[in-house]
């Protein structure tokens, strides 16, 4: 029996929200290995209760600043499902364009602002402004582009304004779309350079296989706007039956619920989507994956970073495609009215940057929400993060505690957890 020691990181940095790494070792034996989620509960599912359904996208997008377009998208999808509204093709395009903007924003923020400092041995992006100005400038230009996409479609990126069941409160005109197109074309070079940069980085090898989940769209598009939930174990589940696959449960050290999949831990997000849908990627994104040597069967969570870069290229291409299509036919679409006025239940299941997001509402005959449930991608990943920490630890236990802490922080960060979201 070896000597006991504790490795504790209070408030892991460069992630969204508050989480602690708590590891107890006895020699090489792992006594405890937790990612404590100590974020504040805000009880959004209760906040939505009794509110008119039109407010739902605007209330629920406040769950998270980084993922607010994703929440608005899932929320409006849930309301539309409950009211029997089927959005038209152009409305779907406009929302897809906004989602592509959010993917690009979120992935670039994570890859360049939160992760890249680890690759350069820096504590943040601040010293990189001086040491690697070109990298920072490219990252900022891409982030600006992503911001501008969302500002154009929904007024702003953080807390989008224009989402309504069956319509959008703003329809960008040709001039706005052309300005975006110009920026998008110019950004290709920046993305290309970032892929080249990250292709030169190496990350620790942690291998742990687990169930992967993603909501795949009908029609063969890369998963973004939702569809049936596909599992790497073979199951396909309709959105409204998500509870057959996603089982929420409480653990004492986390204000976020954990989620068990078909048989145990699951991974959602860029790595899961890439594994389940890499064939659906645009050739440009496939080429990025080849340069990054990203394998579809990767079981290494550090590959989330490469998968997010691949998806950044995909999101950029999606945005280009949607802008071109909207420009070819820029007239706004007529709002779609509810088919049902007596309310009902609706599930919105979409692929947000960090994975499959579920909003499940029941709307009463008076147009008010009577119950709401949200399942957040990070909640689904939490058990996997802890499983991966356990899988990583044996190769770390001989190192000083500070090195173990640093390595585990990098692992947690690779998942790009959104802790505020997970607790909501």
């Amino acid at each position: 029996m070896g000597e006991g020691r504790a490795v504790v990181v209070r408030h892991v940095t460069r992630i969204e929200g508050h989480g602690n790494i708590v590891v107890d070792l006895e020699g090489t034996e792992i006594k405890r290995c937790d990612l404590e989620i100590v974020e504040s509960p805000r009880f959004f599912e209760v906040l939505l209760k009794d509110r008119p359904y039109d407010e739902a996208p605007r209330i629920s997008c406040r769950i998270c600043g980084i993922c607010s377009v994703g929440h608005a998208t899932a929320s409006v999808a849930a309301v539309e499902a409950a009211l029997g509204i089927v959005p038209g093709p152009k409305l779907r395009r406009l929302r897809r364009l906004n989602m592509a903007g959010e993917w690009l924003q979120s992935h670039i923020l994570h890859v360049c602002f939160l992760v890249a400092p680890d690759a350069f041995g820096a504590a943040s992006i601040v010293p990189l402004v001086g040491s690697h100005p070109d990298v920072v400038k490219r990252a900022l230009r891409l982030k600006r582009l992503a911001n501008d996409i969302c500002c154009t479609v929904s007024g702003r990126h953080v807390m989008p304004i224009s989402y309504h069941a069956g319509w959008m409160g703003h329809w960008p005109g040709p001039a706005e779309l052309r300005a975006l197109e110009e920026q998008l074309v110019a950004a290709e070079e920046d993305l290309d350079a970032l892929v080249g940069l990250f292709a030169g980085f190496t990350w620790p090898a942690v291998e742990r296989r687990t169930e992967l989940l993603a909501a795949l769209e009908e029609g063969g598009a890369y998963p973004m706007m939702g569809g049936a939930l596909h599992s790497s174990l073979g199951g396909v589940t309709a959105p409204e039956s998500y509870r057959d696959v996603l089982h929420e449960y409480l653990v004492g050290h986390s204000a976020s619920k954990h989620v068990r999949g078909t048989e145990g831990t699951v991974r959602v997000g860029a790595l899961a989507r890439y594994a389940l849908a890499h064939e659906r990627l645009h050739p440009r994104a496939k080429e990025a994956a080849a340069r990054l040597k990203l394998r579809p069967d990767s079981a290494n969570p550090f590959d989330y970073v490469a998968a997010q870069l691949v998806e950044s290229v995909q999101a950029h291409q999606e945005a280009l495609d949607q802008v071109a299509a909207l420009l070819s036919d820029p007239a706004p679409e007529e709002p779609v009215r509810p088919a049902r006025t007596h309310g009902g239940r609706g599930v919105g299941m979409v692929e947000v940057p960090r994975g499959t997001l579920v909003h499940d509402y029941v709307i009463g005959g008076d147009g008010r929400i009577t119950s709401a449930n949200c399942i957040i991608p990070t909640s689904q990943n939490l058990a996997s993060i802890e499983g991966d920490m356990r899988a990583f630890l044996p190769s770390l236990v001989s190192k000083p505690s500070a090195d173990i802490a640093h390595a585990l922080e990098m692992l947690v960060r690779a998942y790009d957890p959104c802790v505020s979201c997970s607790v909501h």
């Binding site: 940095t13 100590v38 009880f43 998270c64 980084i66 402004v129 600006r144 959008m168 409480l250 505020s420």
Partner: protein, 260 residues
Amino acid sequence: MTRPRVAFFSFGSCEGCQLQVLSVEDVLPDLLAAVEIVNFREAVDDRRDDYDIAFVEGSLVKPEDVAELQKIRAHAQILVAIGACACLGGVNAMRNRRPVTDLARDVYEGRQDGVFAALPEASPLSSVVQVNYEIRGCPIDRFEFLEAVRSLLAGTVPYTPPYAVCVECTLRGTPCLLERGVPCLGSVARAGCNAPCPAYGAPCEACRGCHDVPNFEALGEAFFRHGLTRTQAGEKLQLFNNYREVRDAWEKAVPSSSAT
């Protein structure tokens, strides 16, 4: 001039206001050169307590938040509340309509221990400490944040307009939503955001709080005149302004017994 040491902290919030700070892409390198960031968990590893200015996001929602905020107050020369959660209680305070036991029952199988603990009500920073300045909004406007930083660096007071959002809608030529029967709070809401919501098809929900002289009685009347109810105006105010002062002022002006 020595660069002021700046820290960012967050309590119960979505950290979207901190994200807005990072969204001033064109001038971010200049901003980072003008100040020294010594504590900003979301983006940097350093965590020092020798800061001059603390920007604090979020509401007080957990029992330990109170002591944590008091510690920040003790270290900071200037404490700036950023965003609706920190300035007003924001969306967090919507829950103050219900007892915590109900929330715990609905979300955490009734558990209120350890990580599941919550204060009886969510409250703004000013309920516990002195706040020097407020940057309002959900989220904060990134350019207003920059202006506030400029003011603080120059040793002057950050400016917040005292007038209504209606003024900004008029200036940018947005047709009035209330006149079309949409429940909009623009007439009582504090301006400074340049009224993006009505322009993008959503009513103003007063995320920046109320201006200096909100007339709630007239708001209720206006709602009624445009085919809405007085109760709807009060309900709208619950979204971001459900912490005591505004809620009580509304109740006083338009008692629920008389509201329809």
